[in-house]
C-alpha cells in the first residue's frame, strides 16, 4: 500500500520532469496498450480536456529513480525531502500505558522455572483514534549486555480493550528464558511495543521506574542455582575385586534441586594416581549413572593385579563439584599356582590342645620360586594366630606342604577352630589364601598331666614343702 501511494504521489508531482525525461529512460521501451497509440519510451500520452497527459509505467519510474539516485544524488536527496510528509498523530492521542504484570512473589528463579509474565496495556484513546499495538517481551540475563526478545509477538487491536477499563492483558506463559544460562545474577524484563506511531520501551518510557503491587515498568528477578549433590551411598564399583575382564560397573546418583541436567564425569585413576580414563554422561537429576568398564574398554589383560581408584566430578553447568577418591576395583592377578586338598589332622583322635596337629596343602607351583606359605589358625581365644611359614620353589610336580606343630593352648580347649594358608602368589581362584574348618572341637580336658605323673606330684610336693619350710622359717624368726 505504501509503495502504491508513493507511486501515485510521485506520478502526479513529477509529471513535468517525467515529460522532459522522455527518451532518456534507461528502461527498454515496452509495448503497452494506449488510448491514443502515440506513445514512445514506455510512456503513453492521452488528451483529456485539451490537456496532454503522459502516463508512466511503474518500471520506468523506478528505473529513473535508481538512475537519479546514482547519477544525481544531491537532487535525489532534495527530491526525497520534497516528497517526505511526516506522520502526525491525531490530536489528543496519547500513547497507551504498558506495564509488566508479574503475579508471583517468587523473585529468585532458577533456570528451569516456568515464568508466567503478562503485559498489562491500558489505552484511554477513543476507539476511532486507537491504533494497533505490537508487543514483545524482552529479557536480559546475568552477564548479558543487551536485551533479547523472548516469546513471540503479541498484538492488540483497537477493539480488544475492555470497554469498562480500557485495558487488556497479553501473556507470555511458561517461559524459560535462561535455561542455557551459564551464570547467575540479575535477570531483567521489559516490554517493547509499537502503537503505529512510535516505539516504546517500558524501562525508559516512564520518567522513573514504576512498581506497584504486581505491576512493573521493569521487572528485576534474581537467577539462582542449587548445585547438584551426590547421593553418598550410591557411589560404588562392583565388584570391587574382580578379574580385568569381569563386568565391572561404576555406579552413582546425583540430585539437583533445580531439576537441572547433571553432567557426570567418571575419572579412573591407576595405582600411581594418574588419570586412566575420563568418561562423561549427562543425566537427569536423581537417575542412576552407570559406566560399564567393558563398554568403554577400561581394563586390559596388562592391568591384572593392579589396584585402581576413581572419583566422579559433577555439575549442572553453573556449579560443579567432585567426590573424594574411592578405591576400586582391585584387579585380580593372573593365577600363578594351583592349590587343593587343604587338610588338618590331630596327632591322635582325642584332639587334646597340647597335641601336635598336622596341617597340609597340595600346591602345584610351576613358576614361582620362594613361594611363601603361612599358616594361621583361629579360635575364639586366639583369632588369626600366625603359626609358621614354609617356602617352596617352582616344580613340575605337585608338592604337599606340611606343618606339624602344636598350635593351641589351654584356653582353646573345648573350642572349634579354623585354619587357613596364606600364600604369596595368586591361585586358580584368584585368591591368595585357602582354609578350612576343623571337623570337631578340641578336647575339653585342660590339664595334660595326670595326678600320678611326676610333674603333678612334683608340683604338689613343692607346695607342701614350701608351706612346711615357711612354717619353720617363720617359727624361727618370729616365735623365739
Amino acid at each position: 500500500m505504501k509503495r502504491l501511494a508513493a507511486f501515485l504521489i510521485v506520478t502526479l508531482l513529477l509529471l513535468p520532469l517525467v515529460v522532459e525525461a522522455q527518451g532518456v529512460s534507461p528502461s527498454p521501451p515496452k509495448s503497452t496498450p494506449s488510448s491514443s497509440g502515440g506513445s514512445s519510451g514506455g510512456a503513453s500520452t492521452t488528451t483529456s480536456g485539451g490537456k496532454k497527459i503522459v502516463k508512466l509505467e511503474l518500471d520506468d519510474l523506478i528505473g529513473n529513480l535508481e538512475k537519479w539516485k546514482q547519477d544525481e544524488p544531491q537532487e535525489y536527496e532534495y527530491l526525497k525531502k520534497l516528497l517526505h510528509i511526516p506522520f502526525v498523530p491525531p490530536k489528543n492521542y496519547s500513547a497507551p500505558t504498558v506495564l509488566i504484570w508479574y503475579p508471583s512473589e517468587k523473585t529468585k528463579i532458577t533456570r528451569n522455572d516456568n515464568l508466567d509474565i503478562y503485559a498489562y496495556v491500558k489505552n484511554d484513546n477513543p476507539i476511532e483514534v486507537r491504533s494497533d499495538v505490537y508487543l514483545y517481551l524482552e529479557a536480559k540475563g546475568p552477564g548479558d549486555e543487551n536485551f533479547t526478545r523472548v516469546g513471540s509477538q503479541r498484538v492488540i487491536l483497537a477493539n480488544e480493550y475492555s470497554q469498562k477499563s480500557n485495558s487488556t492483558i497479553r501473556d507470555w506463559s511458561g517461559l524459560t528464558p535462561f535455561v542455557d544460562s551459564r551464570v547467575v545474577g540479575n535477570a531483567t524484563f521489559r516490554i517493547w511495543f509499537n502503537d503505529m506511531h512510535s516505539t516504546y520501551l517500558t524501562d525508559t518510557m516512564y520518567t522513573r521506574p514504576y512498581q506497584k503491587d504486581d505491576y512493573y515498568s521493569i521487572l528485576e528477578l534474581e537467577l539462582v542455582n542449587s548445585p547438584p549433590e551426590v547421593v553418598g551411598e550410591s557411589i560404588r564399583v562392583e565388584p570391587a575385586r574382580a578379574r580385568y575382564n569381569d563386568p565391572i560397573r561404576y555406579a552413582s546418583r546425583f540430585v539437583d534441586a533445580d531439576g537441572d541436567l547433571v553432567n557426570v564425569t567418571l575419572q579412573v585413576l591407576d595405582d600411581q594416581g594418574r588419570e586412566r580414563a575420563n568418561l562423561t554422561q549427562e543425566v537427569k537429576s536423581g537417575t542412576n549413572v552407570t559406566f560399564s568398564a567393558s563398554e568403554y574398554g577400561l581394563f586390559g589383560e596388562g592391568d591384572a593385579g593392579r589396584n585402581f581408584s576413581y572419583r566422579f566430578t559433577y555439575g549442572d553447568g553453573l556449579d560443579g563439584n567432585a567426590t573424594e577418591i574411592y578405591p576400586g576395583p582391585s584387579l585380580l592377578p593372573s593365577p600363578k599356582i594351583f592349590v587343593s586338598d587343604s587338610n588338618v589332622e590331630a596327632a591322635d583322635e582325642n584332639r587334646y590342645w597340647w597335641q601336635n596337629y598336622r596341617f597340609s596343602l597340595k600346591v602345584k607351583n610351576l613358576e614361582v620360586d620362594n613361594l611363601r606359605i603361612d599358616l594361621y589358625t583361629s579360635t575364639p581365644s586366639h583369632p588369626n594366630r600366625y603359626q609358621d611359614t614354609r617356602v617352596i620353589n617352582a616344580s613340575e610336580d605337585a608338592q604337599v606342604v606340611l606343618f606339624d606343630l602344636r598350635p593351641f593352648d589351654v584356653s582353646d580347649a573345648d573350642e572349634s577352630f579354623t585354619y587357613y594358608f596364606k600364600y604369596s602368589a595368586t591361585d586358580q581362584n584368584s585368591e591368595e589364601m585357602m582354609g578350612g574348618t576343623s571337623d570337631g572341637k578340641i578336647h575339653p580336658k585342660i590339664v595334660r598331666y595326670p595326678i600320678y605323673s611326676a610333674v603333678t606330684i612334683g608340683n604338689l610336693l613343692f607346695v607342701l614343702l614350701a608351706a612346711l619350710a615357711g612354717g619353720i622359717v617363720i617359727e624361727r624368726r618370729l616365735y623365739r
Partner: protein, 227 residues
C-alpha cells in the same frame, strides 16, 4: 524260718534307711561345696567368728582377773604378757604351715577349675596353666599372698589358751588333711571337665574340718566361758 525272714527284713530296712541317709547327706554336702559363694561365705564366717570370739575370750578373762584383784590395777597388756604361753617349736612350725596350707587349699578348692567360679580361675591364665609348673606356681602364689596372716595367727590364737595334747595333735594333723585336700583339688583339675563328686566332697570336708580344728581352741574356750 519266720525269724529268719524277720531278720532279713530288718536288715533290709536298716540298709535302705542307712542308704537314704547317706544319699541325703551326700546331696546336702554337694549342695554346699558346689555353691561357691556359700562355701566362701562359710570359710570367712568361721574365720571372722574365731577372731571375734578370741577378743571376747580375752576381754572376759581380763574382767575376771580384774574382779579378783579387789581394786588392784592390772592392765590388759600386762595380763596378755602374763597369759602368753609358748607352745613348742614343732607345734608352732606345724601350726604356721597348717594356716598357710589352709589358705592354699581354699584357693585350690575354689579357684583352680572353672567348675565353681567360671569367670575367676587358674585356667584363665593359659600361659601358666599350660606349663608344667602351673600348679606349683598357683600354690606358691597363694602361700606368699597369705603368708603374713598365717605367720601371726597361730601366735595370737594359740599363745593364750591351754591346749591339750589331743588338741595339739588335731591341729598338727591338719597339715596332712590340708595336703590331702590340695591333692584332691589338683586331681579334680587334672580330670576336668570330668567330675569326681566323691573327691570334691572329701576335699571339702578336709578343708573345712581343718579350718574348724585350727580354730577349735577359740571356740572351745568361748563355749566353756558361756557354760
Amino acid at each position: 524260718m519266720s525269724d529268719l525272714n524277720e531278720t532279713v527284713a530288718t536288715v533290709q530296712a536298716v540298709d535302705i534307711s542307712s542308704g537314704l541317709a547317706s544319699e541325703g547327706l551326700s546331696s546336702f554336702l554337694a549342695g554346699i561345696y558346689s555353691n561357691g559363694l556359700l562355701g566362701v561365705g562359710i570359710f570367712i564366717a568361721l574365720l571372722a567368728g574365731g577372731v571375734l570370739l578370741h577378743r571376747l575370750n580375752m576381754d572376759r578373762t581380763y574382767r575376771n582377773v580384774a574382779a579378783t584383784t579387789h581394786g588392784g590395777e592390772v592392765s590388759p597388756e600386762d595380763l596378755r604378757e602374763e597369759m602368753f604361753t609358748r607352745q613348742g617349736s614343732n607345734f608352732n612350725a606345724a601350726a604356721v604351715a597348717a594356716w598357710m596350707l589352709l589358705f592354699a587349699a581354699f584357693a585350690y578348692f575354689y579357684f583352680l577349675t572353672p567348675e565353681i567360679f567360671p569367670g575367676r580361675n587358674y585356667y584363665l591364665v593359659p600361659t601358666l596353666s599350660s606349663g608344667p609348673v602351673g600348679f606349683a606356681a598357683f600354690g606358691l602364689f597363694f602361700l606368699l599372698l597369705t603368708g603374713l596372716a598365717a605367720a601371726f595367727i597361730p601366735k595370737e590364737l594359740y599363745g593364750y589358751y591351754e591346749l591339750s595334747r589331743e588338741t595339739k595333735v588335731a591341729i598338727m594333723l591338719t597339715v596332712p588333711a590340708l595336703a590331702l585336700s590340695i591333692a584332691l583339688s589338683v586331681q579334680l583339675g587334672t580330670i576336668f571337665p570330668e567330675l569326681d563328686p566323691a573327691a570334691r566332697g572329701l576335699a571339702f570336708l578336709a578343708l573345712f574340718g581343718s579350718e574348724v580344728a585350727l580354730l577349735w581352741p577359740v571356740y572351745a574356750e568361748a563355749l566353756g566361758g558361756i557354760r
